[in-house]
């Protein structure tokens, strides 16, 4: 069992004990511990269960590569599953719970799966759950969901209590990794006067060198690190960040770095995580190397750990994984672990070395220290259940049939060699070379990831570049399976990926079943697909696959390295964009008034517009009917400020608008308004609105609420990229004005009450004119236009005076029962008049002629945008669906979007149809449902009755009628 050593521990402060809980049990660690170190120090070797077989699992590693020791942390709004204990800094009051077991960690029913392992081979899910198909949804999926999966997602109603943010940083050089190689690179870049950011994922600097007591430039590593860090901190051009991981390297030097600002300081009033969005001229990956496990039977038992991790725990945190620790290796580095354990007073009964007669400085040191080296030997099998009790040895070059010796121990430190961490090199396309001597992939300097200048922008240095530093070491010997010719029963107990429960036998089976591509094998077996993304398992797995396929490892190749390097929080990805600032909400000058007066909001793009203003106890439907009745009978107010208002001006403005609109705009007289349509080059409608000619060279173009920015950009596109010699300026004045529609038979009386210098009489100010002047004390531009069929004025005042003007109108209209109306009343009234709405009657495939708007398409103009498109045979065909009004025979309201089916199937095998509903409302004015729709040859079929589908699957009959249901002669708007 693991325990805390009496002395040592370079990172812990024994004077500051910290209490934490694991599965409700209170344990004690020290300031400076990781959660993993504290658990091991408290004797908690068993920390979780595996994914598929629910095997007992312990801590394997000491850093980001840890596959097993994931826990749920925190409570309530701060609960988070799958937290890696090896990278979690201990704090007082930390609460952790183990995962993936039921009912308890020590007794788990799912572990029966492990006894049934023969029935869970590679691709088990694919093979098992195919038949019968109907079983998947109600039988298989619920069972799989209950028993598989890692950790539990927080409740759907839980809201993360922490805050997160992002930061855009720019630098010449970003150095990822705070070991000797990284700090050396950062120092060199800083010396050249570069702007440098150097980041280290852990809380501490120095990497392996400070653990192993190495010397750097003639001084102890720890002192060297401190001195260099001091210099870097003092340099204003250098930013030094610990607890910050380079998550991904992306195109053109874009690097995402994940800073854990306050994970170690719970309760601090700080952002928990900060996502750095760095643009680096050059990226230096000094990300080190990760030790590989060895594949021997029982290598997943709690107590079997990576050799260098064991060394970390002993040196950094004064924790030993056991009292008798067997070391097994194929290289010299693991001898350091044996020596460190020995120096700490931990028994090392044997160093099992797969190599025959290894001769290196470290080997000699171990022998000199009196440690036994069993060379040419292998671990045949690890004995034990929830903890290691011993190891069986056999000849390495055997099938494991003969047990040479059994040695009692309570932990195993293994080393299968090292793999450079090449992720940052590979994320953006850097290619790899297979290094025969080290048996690892390393960056191919001739094929780096390319930046925007076409040059490589990532460099790997130190161990990440394959420079493992052990110059006087004996050569390592690649060992992919131990013993070398292990039989099937042993291979079926050799774990490659302990998190996803993938074994040597699974990969071999996949190869036998025809999976030749490493990418396919990965998905079939799930090797490397767990939250650790195969940091320990991938090289071992593809070596097994290559062997099974009888081809060299480089020919098999690696799977793709994808960001992030280790999982990052969704909170960091969202950054500040949550709650009220999840996305921009655009507000008109009268927004606060609408809110205070009970508006029910409708999103229109990023705007919020009042849909209606329900009063106490009133349904939305009733509110809409009340508002319409008021407008048609007296007068109402609409906040129309969201309408786009584009000033188009210059000597060529008229010529330009003749190209943009389907109508002739150049003939419009100053002082007049004209309704216009805009189409794209396909001839399909894209926007509509009223154009007012302000003077000879100046027009004010109104667009739809959602269309202002799009149409502004559309105009600029044509002016900048096609007709750049035309003298036209466009200025977007959408937000300059609050625009209020005063609508209803009493509209003129209300405005006249305000006073001012505009003659509002019918004769002086006719329909489709505009005037500028004063209404009361307000500077106003008044347009006599109507989208409701009533007497109507749309009035623009400076936005800053919008609320005051609205108040003045409410006051002036009080005697007429003045009330605001919302977008739904607007829509119903326009539908009663048969006016089209972009986005309702149009869907990107509708031309003006489909909507009976031929009158707004100029036949005189030689050219306008969309004219050529409209000339295509399909657009001029008589067989198009065209706009009509629809009246249900029973007065009911048709369903929005309802189709009118016909017998038979179309060319795509779908139900044949002859029309669809585009707008449908209950009209309080008419007391019945009204609708508009596009119907095949519709205008030729007036009076015909056709059937539409209902939402419940039935049919309802509707008569084809004229789309204008109300005041067809237009007498009410023209008074």
């Amino acid at each position: 069992m693991s325990y805390r050593l009496a002395t040592g521990g370079r990172l812990i402060d024994r004077s500051r004990p910290l209490d934490f809980t694991f599965n409700g049990k209170t344990l004690r660690g020290f300031a400076g511990d990781t959660l993993a170190a504290a658990l091991l120090g408290a004797g908690q070797t068993l920390v979780g269960r595996s994914f598929k077989y629910h095997r007992p699992r312990g801590i394997v590693a000491s850093g980001a590569e840890e596959p097993n020791a994931l826990v749920g942390m925190g409570e309530g709004q701060r609960f988070e599953p799958n937290q890696r204990t090896t990278t979690t800094e201990l704090f007082s009051g930390l609460k952790a719970v183990s995962q993936n077991h039921w009912p308890s960690l020590d007794f788990d029913i799912g572990a029966v799966n492990a006894k049934l392992w023969r029935f869970f081979p590679a691709g088990f899910y694919y093979k098992m759950f195919i038949h019968p198909r109907s079983f998947w949804k109600h039988v298989y999926e619920p069972i799989v969901r209950q028993s598989a999966g890692l950790g539990k997602a927080p409740d759907a109603e839980t809201r993360d209590a922490d805050r997160y943010e992002q930061f855009y940083a720019h630098c010449d050089v970003l150095v990822a990794g705070g070991g000797i190689a990284g700090l050396t690179a950062a120092r060199a870049a800083a010396a050249e006067g570069k702007r440098v950011i150097v980041i280290e994922q852990a809380a501490h600097w120095g990497g392996r060198a400070v653990v192993d007591g190495a010397e750097v430039e003639g001084q102890p590593a720890a002192g060297w690190v401190e001195a260099v860090l001091g210099d870097l901190h003092a340099n204003p051009a250098v930013t030094v960040l610990n607890r910050t991981m380079a998550a991904g390297v992306h195109d053109h030097g874009y690097v995402l770095a994940y800073q854990r600002v306050a994970d170690h300081e719970p309760g601090a009033d700080k952002p928990r995580h900060r996502l750095w969005r760095v643009r680096a001229g050059h990226v230096i990956a000094a990300t080190g190397a990760i030790e590989r496990p060895l594949s021997f039977a029982g290598n997943d038992l709690p107590g079997v750990m990576l050799a260098a991790a064991v060394r970390d725990y002993v040196v950094n945190w004064a924790v030993s994984p056991g009292k008798r620790v067997v070391v097994v290796t194929n290289n010299d580095d693991a001898y350091r672990t044996a020596l460190a354990l020995h120096a700490a007073g931990v028994a090392v009964p044997v160093i099992i070395d797969a190599r025959t007669e290894p001769r290196g400085a470290l080997v000699e040191q171990a022998r000199a220290a009196g440690l036994r080296v069993a060379d040419g030997m292998a671990v045949r099998s690890v004995k034990g259940g929830k903890a290691v009790t011993g190891v069986e040895l056999c000849r390495f070059d055997s099938d494991g049939g003969a047990v040479a010796e059994t040695i009692a121990c309570d932990a195993v430190a293994m080393s299968g060699g090292w793999s450079p961490v090449v992720h940052l090199w590979s994320h953006c396309g850097g290619k790899l070379l297979w290094d025969e001597a080290g048996a690892f992939f390393r960056p191919d300097p001739s094929r780096p990831p390319l930046g925007r200048d076409g040059q490589g922008f990532v460099t790997c240095t130190g161990a990440a570049n394959g420079d493992l530093g052990d110059t006087d070491a004996a050569p390592m010997m690649p060992v992919w399976m131990m013993p070398a010719k292990a039989d099937y029963l042993l291979r079926a107990k050799m774990w490659l990926d302990p998190q996803n429960d993938v074994k040597v036998s699974d990969v071999q089976l996949a190869a036998k079943e025809g999976y030749a591509s490493v990418e396919h094998t990965k998905r079939y077996t799930t090797l490397g697909m767990a939250t650790d993304q195969g940091k320990l398992s991938n090289i071992n797995g593809l070596a097994i696959l290559s062997d099974a396929l009888g081809q060299p490892i480089p020919q098999t190749g690696t799977t793709t390295f994808r960001p992030p390097y280790t999982p990052i929080s969704l909170g960091a990805i969202a950054g500040e964009a949550r709650g009220p600032i999840f996305q921009p909400l655009r507000r008109t000058p009268m927004h606060a008034w609408h809110e205070a007066n009970g508006a029910h909001w409708e999103p229109v793009g990023q705007w919020r517009r009042p849909y209606c203003y329900p009063r106490d106890g009133e349904s939305h439907g009733h509110a809409v009917s009340r508002e319409i009745t008021q407008v048609r009978g007296s007068v109402g107010l609409l906040d129309a400020s969201t309408l786009g208002k584009l000033l188009v001006t210059g000597p060529d403005a008229a010529k330009f608008l003749d190209m943009l609109y389907t109508n002739m705009m150049s003939t419009l007289k100053p002082g007049k308004c004209r309704y216009g349509l805009m189409c794209n080059e396909n001839g399909f409608l894209s926007d509509d609105g009223v154009v007012a000619r302000l003077d000879d060279q100046t027009f004010l173009c109104h667009t739809t609420s959602g269309g202002a920015d799009r149409i502004h950009a559309w105009m600029e596109d044509w002016l900048q990229c096609e007709w750049w010699d035309w003298k036209v300026h466009v200025v977007n004045l959408t937000e300059e004005y609050a625009q209020i529609a005063v609508v209803g038979p009493n509209a003129r009386k209300v405005l006249e009450k305000l006073g001012g210098d505009i003659d509002l009489s019918k004769e002086a100010f006719p329909f489709m004119d505009w005037r500028e002047g004063r209404l009361g004390k307000f500077r106003a531009r008044v347009f006599r236009i109507s989208f409701s069929g009533e007497l109507s004025y749309e009035i623009a005042v400076p936005a800053s005076e919008g609320q005051a003007f609205w108040d003045a109108l409410m006051q002036a209209g009080a005697e007429f029962g003045m009330m605001p109306y919302g977008t739904e009343a607007l829509h119903v009234m326009r539908a009663e008049k048969g006016f089209i709405m972009i986005g309702d009657e149009t869907d990107g495939t509708v031309i003006p002629q489909d909507l009976g708007l031929d009158w707004a398409v100029s036949k005189k103009k030689p050219d306008f945008l969309g004219k050529r498109g409209m000339e295509r045979p399909a657009m001029t065909s008589a067989d198009r669906w065209k706009l009509v009004g629809l009246e249900t025979l029973d007065g009911s309201v048709l369903a929005d979007g309802a189709l009118a089916p016909l017998p038979g199937k179309n060319v795509n095998g779908q139900q044949e149809t002859q029309g669809r509903v585009t707008s449908t409302y209950f009209s309080p004015t008419l007391g019945r449902g009204i609708a508009m729709g596009l119907v095949h040859r519709g205008p030729e079929r007036m009076g015909e009755v056709i059937a539409f589908q209902t939402e419940s699957g039935g049919r309802v009959e509707a008569r084809i009628v004229d789309p204008c249901f109300y005041d067809k002669a237009g007498e009410k708007q023209n008074v």
Binding site: D251, R279, R868
Partner: protein
Amino acid sequence: MLLLTCPCCGVTAEETEFANGGEAHLKRFGPGSSDADYEAYMFNRKNPRGVHFERWRHAYGCGKWFLMARDTMTLEVYGAYPAQTTEPPAEIVAKIKARRPEWEGYK
């Protein structure tokens, strides 16, 4: 995410400040054009694996459109130039040829 330099205001900024506008140097065919010309204008795009001339707008910046030559495979940027240009400038063509000798040239 690309890093682009706007030739109109000189700012180098990440792609989120810009809007892509598809292939550059299209010739507009309006009323009176043949079906083939109109089809080519509206629908036929080169979509090359390699050197591509494309339109960008500095949408969150100076608002101006510009044109850019970029390799769609390596994402190398060969240069940007004003939108008021009817074909790729000679110096950009020369740079592309130097970098990509196999390139068949702008047509």
